[in-house]
Structure formats: structure tokens, C-alpha cells
Amino acid sequence: MQLTINGKNHEVDVDPETPLLWVLRDEVGLTGTKFGCGIAMCGACTVHVNGQPRRSCSLPVKLVDGDITTIEGIGTPDAMNAVQEAWVENQVAQCGFCQSGQIMTAAALLSMNPEPSDDDIDRAMSGNICRCGTYPRIRAAVHAAAAKMRGA
């Protein structure tokens, strides 16, 4: 099966029912996308398919119908994306395990809504659990990233 992940083509040989999450993590070796629940309840596994946020733990790889972007694809430690920069400036992460998913969800939100209100942020981000309770800083970082991306 052919997949386009972060702009690169990958050939994978798996059971087509396998959720995209495990293809990314175990087969392709992109471990930035995390496993938290496996039932689309926590958001740790969020990636973009054609720019839309998807729960990769509950998306059989055979149903993937477009280009996949993972946390590794939106920025790197030396060249972070604006959302990642805002996250670092606001010192958001604690254990960090949820943060790939949080950042991917926030990035998708901001690409569709460059100036989200608190309510918009609540609506977009409430599918992502953070057991460390970093919500106050996530909220601040989403606003900061929005401002950054608007060039404010």
C-alpha cells in the first residue's frame, strides 16, 4: 500500500484494517504521534489527512484518502512551525505525551480559523485530553500562535 507522509512516499505491507496510528509508529517509524486510548477519545494520535485533523488510532489505513501530515511534518527542533514556537514560548508541555496531538489539533484549527475566540478554542481542543492539565497554557499558546500567524 502507498502512503504519502510528510511529503514522502512510503510503501507499507500491513493488514488494511490496521489503524493508521500503528502504521506510522510501528511500520514507518514516526513515533511523534502518540497512542493514548485507541478509541478516538483522547486526541493523542491526531494527524492531518488532507489538512483535516483525524484520530489516527481509529482510522483504518485502507480508508486513508489523502496526504498525511504528522507532528514531524509540521516543524523540526531547528525549524519549528509557528504553533510549536508559541508552545515553547508559553512553556506548555509537562509530561508532553499529549502535546503532539494538541499541536496538530491547534494547527488545523488555526489553518481554518486564523482568529479563534475562547469558545472556538474550546470547541476545537476539547477532544484532546491532557492529564497534566496544561489547558491554561494551551489556550494562551493558541492565541499566541494565532497572533504570530497573522503577523501581529
Binding site: V14, D15, T18, P19, L21, W22, R25, D26, E27, G29, L30, T31, G32, T33, K34, F35, G36, C37, G38, I39, M41, C42, A44, T70, I71, E72, G75, T76, P77, M80, Q84, W87, V88, Q91, V92, A93, Q94, C95, G96, F97, C98, Q99, S100, D122, R123, M125, S126, G127, N128, I129, C130, R131, C132, G133, T134, Y135, P136, R137, I138, R139
Partner: protein, 742 residues
């Protein structure tokens, strides 16, 4: 020597069950530097915390980074004295070793009241450090990392700097007193400078001083300031490596199914269906269950469901009602402890006109974001283990026990932890990974639990019952009598480590008995309930439920006295740091000020892990349910090393505490934990989370850690706010069993 030996055993009879003969020399002598045997060519370990090599300086921060920012603060302690740029060095967790024992681990068990700073109490605290050293446990928990490291790691940095200065003196042929250090360099009076990295060879032969002088606080460059966390960029780019992310050539993937009747075994099983799958490499029996080894995690998750297993029955009552009843029965037994007995509670209560209440809190799961997992590779008489653990030395113990290997042939790689909260001090999942690696010698094994396995196989926060009686006389509190029944979390946890503590369980009335409220007649009694579900250390441990009991009961007394809940508390406190946090939180929250219809505030105060914390919660009735709108936190940490990180920890504690208060419950049906995943055991989410204002005070006498103390006041502050809003007194958690939230 005889004296010390005796004292060691006096306190240690509980702690060191094995009864090794320990002489004075052994107690005072440092553990060998564990880095020495692991150094690569050209590296020098100046102390167990500092490695210098040609290509750079490395600091060992030997506490587990589970979100609390400890790696950064520990590195800063060393860097402050060593004179290196925190961002130009490498920081590692280091090997598992007794040398990194946590000196604070036994302080709580010794039972000095938090507010007691008398010479005797301080002596006892110091004595517990000796016990902790003998136990040699490299553990992260109990909000101890900072107080444990505060002198120790600065000393390590200072000793290393002295060694490097001496080495430079030697190579320059000048006296060390003419040299200064700055930014990873030794600098001579004439301006000549030598980088630390050039001195590795010379320094190797110089013995570090044991009590180097430490810098004045006024000279600090890193400490006391908010630092950018060293793990932040990694964690925001998906490049931080957790155990679950470890990948090795030819690795196989495993998962387990363990009996959901916790503690019971396997009666029989049929693995033929699983074994018939093309992807299954092996089925391996592990303690109380089976593991399946496959080609990827998903396949392993599927394959393990193909096992047909007949389970042994649950060794405890199989439903909640019976478990609660067995806890209630504990009140009829003799007390496990009665650490507070001021005045004559019975005499006052016998007069009648009393307040009598009962509180109940359920079992709670830790539900760390990263499910339990470990990677083990056994080959050629060597074991490597990659694990997110709060206790590397315990992993070392279990690895030795299971493989029979020498300590030197085992390498524990402590990875980032995707949450700990006490759960990762346990080693059940580590033992499983080793068992499978043994059965598949030569093949690296990654063993990952499903969320369902994780939720149903925890060592839970104990279900706890409390009975309270109190009395008001002339508008003042006259009697406070708290009885708490729970199963013994500390005794159970130590028993799982093979240590039998023949003592009262310190967690049952943790931080309740030494609450600084002055009431003439005050009694706190603990009862040990019969074991049901396995219980253990859950963030803030006994304080999480005892704060709920104490602070709800206090609110009930204040109400009976027609007093303002804040003033009522202040009137009982002569402990200055505690008064100050209450005054601060009142000011921050506008306590006493008018609120619009449908809004109310509640207050709570609790002193746990040496940190007095006061919180105000403001709620609003949205019409569709209550929302926690604002939280205000004032905490006295004694000395704040990194204010922005402390703020994060306090906020984190509030959200973890509110999650539990509003909706957290692990319940039992047919002997099995009913909640399997986040759909049944949810966490607070963004739209439910309040704004959280934090103020950090520094009036207390000791430096403290704040991973836990922000949590306990959250539940009672919320319950008290609900009372203020609706007049409804909810005495059972979770609150959403009694009232709707959004």
C-alpha cells in the same frame, strides 16, 4: 557506633526488613560513583552528577522527568555552582544506582508534624535520611526531588568546579586561589582561559572535596528564576523519546492480558487460536496472565483477544456495596493509628448538639497519558531495559530477580515518562517485559498495554470512608473528631517491593493528624480496612482524600457557627505561612465581594508535603450544569527555585484534583473494574477547565516540592462552593453523582 546501629534499627525495623548488619562506616560512606564503570574513553566523572569529556559537559539529573520539570531544575542546581551554560551542556537521567537514593523518602513515615521545626523534629528528619540512604531507593515521588537535591546537587556542582580549578592550576602551574570560573572555563588572573572540556584528563586524578562551600542566594544566576525547560522543544516537536517510542532492529511487539480479578491467577487457557495467527511469534505466561508477541502493537492487541482464558476468581468482595461495607466494618476494629489526641473530644461530644457526618470517596485510577510499557532486550548475558519509571533501582531489583544477572550486566535506561502520578513507581509491567524477553532471548521486546489493560490493572487511590463529629460552643470550634478508614496504601506498596512494614500506615491519616488548626479537643484516628483492590500512591496520596474530609467538615462547622469560612479558618491558625496563603487567596479571589446571581465561591486550605496551600474555586450555574469558572491558588513553597514551573505544577494539581472531584470513580462489577477507557473514566477537558491564578509565597522554613500539594484543596473548595451556591452539602465523590456539571 553501637548507638547509631541501634537507632538505625529502631526506626529501621519497619524499613529494612532484611536485617542487614549496618555499621557506622557503611552509613556514612558514600555509595560508589556508578558512572565510573560506564565511562567512555576520555570521559571523567567528577562526581556522580558531572561528567566532563573533550566534547562537552554532561549533568546527571537522576530523578524521573514525568512532566514536573525536574530535569531542568536539577540541572540548574548543578550548573549554578559548576558555572556552565545550561543550554550548552547535556543533561541525562543516568544509570540506575543506589548512589542516587532519595534521601527524603522516609520522612513522611517518621511522622513529624509539618509545622514542627523544633530541634528534636529536625533531628528525627535527619535520621530518616540515614534510613533512606540504606534503602538506596532512586525514586521520584512524594514531592521530594527538590528538597532532596537542593544541597546535594549544588554540592556536586561546587565539588566538580573545585576539581576543575585544581586541574587547571596544575596545568598552568599557578595556585588554584588565583583562578576563577565562568561559563565552562577556568580563567587565570592574566586572562588565560582553559575550557572544562580540556581538563577531563587532569581532573580524573583529583579527589572532589566532600563539603564544598556553596554560593549565596544573592549570587544565583539560574536559581530563583523562571527557566526555559530543557525538554520543551523536544516535547513540542514529537522528538522527545518515551519508552513507548524506542525502536530497535528486529524488535518484536508484545502485549498482555492479565486477570481483571486483580491479584488472582490463570486457571487454564487455550492459546491455539492466537497461535494459529500468522503474525504471532509466541505466547508467554506472565504473572496472572499471558503475553502475546507479534509483528506490531496492533496485531498484538488483536491476537491477545484470541486467547481463551479461564480466570481464578477475585480475592475480594465483587461489588462496590460490599467493599464499602467492609470498609465501614473497619471502624469497629481497633484503630490503626491515632496520631492526634488533643484534649477530650468525647467529653465535649457527650454534651450533645454536635455535627455528625460521613464522607465517601471512590477508588481512582492514575490514567497516565502514556499507557504502561517497557522495552527489554536480553542477550549474551546482558539485559537492557528502556522504561518510563519513577523507580529505576526497583527496576534493577526486579531485573536481577528475574534474570539472575549481576547488577553490572543490567542497564536501565530511564526514558521520559508520559505521566507518572505514582503509577510508574510500580514494576508489574516491567516484570512482564523481562519475562517475555527471557522467553525470546536475543529479540528486543516492546511490551505495550492497551488503555483498557491500563485502566483495569492499576494500584488505585484507596476508596476511603470518613466519619466526622464536631461541636461549636459559643460560636467557636470546640471539638473536631475525624475517623478515617481505608486500606493501607503504603504498606501495600512496600509489600509489593518485598518489604514488610510492621507499623501503622502513614497514608490513612496523612496530613490530617498534623493539620495546624488549633482546637482544644482534636482527634484523628485511622482504621485499616480489609484489602480489596490493590492500592498505592496516587498523586498526593492520603492528602487527596483527607483534605476533602477535613475541609468539608471545617466548612460545616463554620456554617454551624454562622462564621465566614475564611475567617473561621484564620481564627484557628497561628501558623504564619498558613495564614498568609489564606490571606493571599482571599485577596486574589475577591473573597467576600458580591457575585452575580448563579455564582459562588468556596475555599479550602491544606498543608501537605510541607506546603500550605489555600484555594478558592468560583463556580457558575450555566443552566446546563455547573462550570468551574475560576480557581485561585496560593502556596508557600519555602523557597521558589523556578516560579513559572511551580505555577505549572500547581495548576496541574488543581486540574488533576478537579477531574477526580467532579467525575473520577473506579467501580467494581463482578470483581472487575468497570471503567475501561477514557469514555468511562474521563479527564477534565478544555471547555471545563477554569482559569487558574497562582501566587507563590516563600515564608516557610524548608524548601519544598510542589508536584502534589496543589491537588488536595481542589475537591473541598469545589464542594464548598456548591454548598455556597445551592445549600447542597455533597459528602460523596465524585460530585457529578449528585449534581450536574457541563
Amino acid at each position: 557506633m553501637g548507638k547509631i546501629l541501634r537507632r538505625t534499627f529502631l526506626i529501621g525495623s519497619a524499613a529494612v526488613g532484611g536485617g542487614v548488619a549496618i555499621g557506622y562506616w557503611q552509613v556514612t560512606k558514600p555509595y560508589p560513583n556508578p558512572l565510573k564503570s560506564r565511562l567512555k574513553d576520555g570521559e571523567t566523572a567528577l562526581t556522580p552528577y558531572v561528567i566532563v569529556a573533550k566534547d562537552g559537559v554532561t549533568i546527571v539529573a537522576p530523578r524521573s522527568e514525568m512532566g514536573q520539570g525536574v530535569r531542568t531544575t536539577l540541572a540548574a542546581l548543578v550548573a549554578e555552582e559548576l558555572d556552565v551554560d545550561l543550554n550548552a551542556i547535556k543533561v541525562i537521567n543516568g544509570p540506575a544506582s543506589k548512589a542516587y537514593y532519595n534521601s527524603m523518602l522516609m520522612e513522611e513515615a517518621a511522622g513529624q508534624a509539618a509545622t514542627d521545626v523544633s530541634a528534636g523534629a529536625e533531628r528525627m528528619r535527619n535520621a530518616t535520611k540515614v534510613i533512606a540512604k540504606i534503602m538506596g531507593s532512586q525514586a521520584t515521588g512524594g514531592s521530594t526531588a527538590i528538597p532532596d537535591a537542593f544541597e546535594r546537587m549544588r554540592s556536586a556542582g561546587a565539588a566538580a568546579r573545585i576539581v576543575l580549578t585544581k586541574a587547571a592550576a596544575k596545568s598552568l602551574g599557578v595556585s588554584a586561589s588565583e583562578l576563577t570560573t565562568e561559563n565552562g572555563m577556568v580563567i587565570a588572573a592574566d586572562g588565560t582561559s582553559i575550557a572544562y572540556t580540556e581538563l577531563a584528563g587532569e581532573a580524573a586524578n583529583i579527589k572532589p572535596p566532600s563539603n564544598p562551600p556553596l554560593r549565596e542566594k544573592s549570587k544565583w544566576r539560574y536559581l530563583g528564576k523562571s527557566l526555559d525547560r530543557l525538554d520543551m522543544v523536544e516535547k513540542c516537536t514529537g522528538t522527545a523519546e518515551y519508552a513507548i517510542d524506542v525502536r530497535l532492529p528486529d524488535m518484536a511487539y508484545a502485549t498482555v492480558r492479565v486477570n481483571c480479578h486483580l491479584g488472582a491467577g490463570v486457571k487454564s487457557y487455550d492459546a491455539s487460536k492466537a497461535k494459529a495467527r500468522a503474525d504471532v511469534k509466541k505466547v508467554v505466561p506472565v504473572k496472572n496472565g499471558l503475553a502475546v508477541v507479534s509483528t506490531n502493537t496492533w496485531n498484538a492487541f488483536q491476537a491477545v483477544q484470541d486467547l481463551e482464558i479461564e480466570w481464578e476468581p477475585a480475592p475480594y468482595p465483587v461489588n462496590d456495596a460490599d467493599i464499602v461495607a467492609s470498609h465501614r466494618a473497619a471502624f469497629d476494629d481497633k484503630p490503626d493509628s491515632q496520631k492526634r489526641k488533643d484534649g477530650d473530644v468525647e467529653a465535649v461530644l457527650a454534651e450533645g448538639d454536635i455535627i455528625e457526618t460521613e464522607y465517601l470517596v471512590p477508588y481512582l485510577a492514575h490514567a497516565t497519558m502514556e499507557p504502561m510499557n517497557a522495552v527489554a532486550h536480553l542477550r549474551d548475558g546482558k539485559l537492557d531495559l528502556w522504561v518510563g519509571t519513577q523507580s529505576p533501582t526497583r527496576c534493577l531489583d526486579v531485573a536481577k530477580d528475574l534474570t539472575g544477572l549481576d547488577e553490572d550486566d543490567i542497564d536501565i535506561h530511564t526514558m521520559y515518562l508520559g505521566g507518572g502520578f505514582g503509577r510508574r513507581g510500580e514494576i508489574d509491567f516491567v516484570a512482564q517485559a523481562i519475562e517475555v524477553a527471557k522467553a525470546m532471548e536475543g529479540t528486543p521486546i516492546k511490551l505495550v498495554w492497551s488503555r483498557e489493560e491500563d485502566m483495569c490493572h492499576d494500584m488505585y487511590r484507596p476508596l476511603t470512608l470518613a466519619r466526622f463529629r464536631g461541636a461549636i460552643r459559643d460560636g467557636k470550634p470546640a471539638a473536631f473528631d475525624m475517623h478515617v478508614a481505608a486500606s493501607a496504601a503504603a504498606i501495600d506498596a512496600f509489600e509489593r517491593q518485598g518489604m514488610n512494614l510492621n507499623m501503622a500506615d502513614p497514608t490513612i491519616t496523612q496530613n490530617a493528624w498534623d493539620n495546624p488548626y488549633k482546637i482544644d479537643n482534636y482527634r484523628v484516628t485511622g482504621y485499616r480496612a480489609k484489602k480489596a483492590l490493590p492500592v498505592g500512591f496516587w498523586r498526593s496520596v492520603g492528602a487527596s482524600q483527607n483534605a476533602f474530609f477535613q475541609e468539608c467538615a471545617t466548612d460545616e462547622l463554620a456554617n454551624a457557627a454562622n462564621a465566614d469560612p475564611l475567617q473561621f479558618r484564620l481564627d484557628m491558625l497561628d501558623h504564619e505561612p498558613s495564614r498568609k496563603v489564606l490571606e493571599a487567596v482571599a485577596e486574589m479571589s475577591g473573597w467576600g465581594g458580591a457575585l452575580p446571581e448563579g455564582r459562588a465561591r468556596g475555599i479550602a486550605y491544606y498543608l501537605s508535603f510541607g506546603v500550605p496551600v489555600a484555594e478558592v474555586i468560583e463556580i457558575v450555574d450555566t443552566g446546563a450544569g455547573l462550570k468551574v469558572d475560576k480557581a485561585f491558588v496560593a502556596a508557600d513553597v519555602g523557597l521558589a527555585l523556578d516560579p513559572r514551573n511551580i505555577e505549572a505544577q500547581l495548576q496541574s494539581g488543581v486540574i488533576y484534583g478537579l477531574t477526580a472531584a467532579i467525575q473520577g470513580a473506579i467501580t467494581i462489577e463482578d470483581g472487575v473494574v468497570k471503567q475501561k477507557n477514557f469514555n468511562e473514566y474521563d479527564a477534565m477537558r478544555m471547555y471545563q477547565a477554569p482559569s487558574i491564578d497562582v501566587r507563590i509565597l516563600e515564608n516557610g522554613p524548608h524548601i519544598t516540592g510542589v508536584g502534589e500539594p496543589g491537588l488536595p484543596p481542589a475537591a473541598p473548595a469545589l464542594a464548598n462552593a456548591i454548598f455556597a451556591l445551592s445549600g447542597k452539602r455533597i459528602r460523596e465523590l465524585p460530585l457529578n453523582n449528585s449534581i450536574a456539571f457541563i
